[in-house]
């Protein structure tokens, strides 16, 4: 057998060593490129840190006070949770333009069932979440079985869901007092964290359950993506769908489940949004669809699928939060938030393209 032949072994060893030697002669630039490629969460962390540093000077350190941190996190919570859902969908090389509207539909259903129709609160919440999962199921079905592009499917769903919300509610909000009177549990995630007198404080400032929920959603999704077969299949299908199928992944089933899980997370965000906003308004969160995509992209997940990390999305969402709060503290026109976010998105995708070139 030629494997025992020393010359062949030597050759094989040299062939393997060669790229390593080559790597050592690479420029510093290439090293950075490689590090960012191997470690997709690194770039979002750097971007977040830089943003904090910039605003530290721009706001005379006010950005790092407990109050500013609390406000940043609370501002980030809902879009952050939605962005977790958006991440798994984008990882499969899809996109969900409807996710914010689905969340609005979900909380409108929760509020109407619990407040207007007087159903018990917990079943109302569950039915609201089921509605969101139903929207995901329809999107997933259209993407896989009818083979429509996710962009078109969810663009359509966005319009349809939004119209449904306004037709169903007659554009009427449910007032905060009415929720307090009939179904205060709906507002759970707006309450301060207080378990038997134990409060969760951020630098001395008490915070709300929505933050805990956001962190929980990211921890659970990190586990699911990295430690279960389902998560590995999400990456494999996004990376190369045909290859994943040949390797034995049932990609249609997986994709449908991804959109349904996305709907479930949107339903969870819906419950948190009621507490965060206080009232139930069909016209809130109009920007949430695109904000969630922005968080994912700034978080380093590739729109081409298969590459990225869920924690990057958390940092991406926090970056937008720091920008928003920082500019407000610095007394700038709120339009600058959009301006800066726009540039961040473009830069993040440009960087992603550059980093991806390492693999070629």
């Amino acid at each position: 057998m030629s494997t025992s032949d020393p010359t062949v072994d030597g050759e094989a060893a040299r062939a393997v060593d060669a790229p390593v030697e080559f790597a050592q002669r690479k420029s510093l630039f290439a090293h950075i490129q490689h590090a960012l490629h191997v470690n997709p969460t690194l770039l979002p962390v750097i971007i977040l840190a830089l943003t904090v540093v910039v605003f530290y000077f721009a706001t005379d350190g006010k950005i790092l006070t407990g109050l500013a941190n609390k406000v940043t996190l609370e501002q980030t919570a809902i879009v952050g949770i939605l962005a977790a859902a958006q991440t798994i969908i984008i990882l499969t090389a899809g996109i969900d333009l409807s996710i914010g509207a689905v969340m609005v539909l979900s909380y409108v259903v929760m509020g109407n069932l619990a407040v207007t129709y007087g159903l018990p609160t917990v079943p109302s919440i569950l039915l609201g979440m089921l509605t969101a999962m139903g929207c995901g199921l329809i999107s997933g079905f259209l993407v896989t079985k009818i083979r429509l592009p996710p962009f078109i499917v969810t663009l359509g769903m966005w319009k349809i869901v939004l119209a449904t919300v306004f037709l169903y509610t007659g554009s009427q909000s449910i007032r905060s007092q009415d929720i307090d009177a009939d179904a205060p549990f709906l507002k759970l995630f707006g309450e301060r964290v207080d378990v038997f007198g134990m409060q969760l404080k951020i630098m001395g400032v008490p915070t709300i359950w929505a933050i805990v929920l956001m962190v929980g959603v990211f921890v659970v999704m990190w586990y699911v993506l990295n430690r279960t077969a389902w998560g590995r299949h999400v990456y494999a299908v996004g990376d190369d769908k045909d290859a994943a199928e040949l390797a034995g992944v049932r990609s249609d089933r997986l994709l449908i489940s991804v959109y349904v899980v996305g709907g479930l997370i949107a339903g969870i965000a819906a419950w948190a949004a009621i507490g965060r906003v206080g009232s139930i308004s069909p016209s809130s969160f109009a920007e949430a669809n695109l904000d969630s995509i922005a968080a994912v992209v700034i978080g380093g997940t590739s729109l081409f699928g298969g590459r990225g990390a869920i924690l990057g999305t958390l940092f991406g969402a926090l970056t937008v939060g720091v920008l928003t709060v920082g500019l407000k503290l610095a007394g700038a026109d709120p339009q600058w938030v959009l301006f800066a976010t726009g540039w961040l998105i473009i830069s993040a995708v440009a960087l992603d393209q550059w980093i991806r070139r390492v693999s070629a």
Partner: protein, 260 residues
């Protein structure tokens, strides 16, 4: 060839509209051999292979595995029966690790509550087995089982795909053009791999356009022409130009070979 064949096909027919891709084709694979399948473009060899690996369902004819009639509705069913295929595109996910790729679609879960209710993967065990599968085939030069497949060379990727097939294939391994995209050195490495797998007792079906490679590793050569098996020959008995002549119809196969 006194032993009973592992995998046989009789009178396979597959039509695509008016095109007859398989015209009552036969096929035999014996234990412990490397059987090369060659044929001109359009001869129907890839349809034959797809029928054997479950990717295509023949319109007529039957396939027998270990003497039992089988019907594969999908590649997954063929795999469950012990037939592993190394596809030309390798079916690897470049961004995922070697271990992830080797267990794609058949991951191992931890035992107990963690695996049952939290579906936690047993990454340690998967990495251990992936390393073992690679070292079985002399691929220990791949140091880090967690490195993404895209960081490997073409030959190493082929090695991972072959190791995956060898680790899970219990009856037959089918390789579709395993050397087509490789340089000389890497091709030789893959040919060594094919020999290694055969030494472990697994019969291999090798589809290739590369005559020197076919003659170097195969025990028998199945020549496919016009949708059916024209003949099988032994590489020792004929030259490469004979094989090409049979394949293209420039020369009629010898009588005794036809009977084989």
């Amino acid at each position: 060839m006194s032993a009973a064949p592992v995998l046989t096909a009789r009178n396979l027919v597959k039509r695509y509209g008016r095109v007859v891709a398989l015209d009552r084709a036969d096929f035999d694979l014996y234990p412990g051999e490397v059987l090369a399948v060659i044929g001109d473009n359009g001869a129907g060899k890839s349809t034959l292979i797809k029928a054997l690996s479950g990717a295509v369902q023949p319109d007529a004819g039957e396939i027998n595995l270990d003497g039992k009639k089988v019907h594969f509705g999908s590649p997954i069913e063929a795999r469950e029966a012990g037939i592993e295929t190394v596809y030309q595109n390798l079916a690897l996910s470049p961004a995922l690790s070697i271990a992830d790729n080797m267990f794609m679609g058949r991951e191992l879960r931890k035992s107990g509550v963690l695996g049952k209710y939290f579906k936690m993967l047993d990454r340690g065990e998967m990495e251990r087995r992936a390393r073992a599968a690679l070292s079985d085939l002399g691929l220990l030069t791949i140091q880090n089982i967690r490195q993404p497949v895209e960081t490997l060379s073409g030959g190493q990727r082929q090695g991972v795909a072959v190791a995956r097939a060898a680790a899970f294939g219990s009856r037959v391994i089918i390789m579709d053009e395993p050397t087509a995209a490789l340089g000389v050195k890497e091709s030789n490495r893959v040919l060594d791999l094919i020999r290694d797998v055969r030494e472990r007792g697994l019969p291999i079906v090798l589809i290739s356009h590369n005559m020197p490679h076919v003659f170097e590793v195969s025990n028998r050569i199945h020549i496919h022409r016009l949708g059916k098996r024209l003949t099988t020959i032994k590489p020792d008995d004929f030259s490469m130009s004979d094989a090409v002549a049979f394949m293209t119809g420039a020369k009629d196969p010898p009588r005794e070979a036809l009977a084989a």
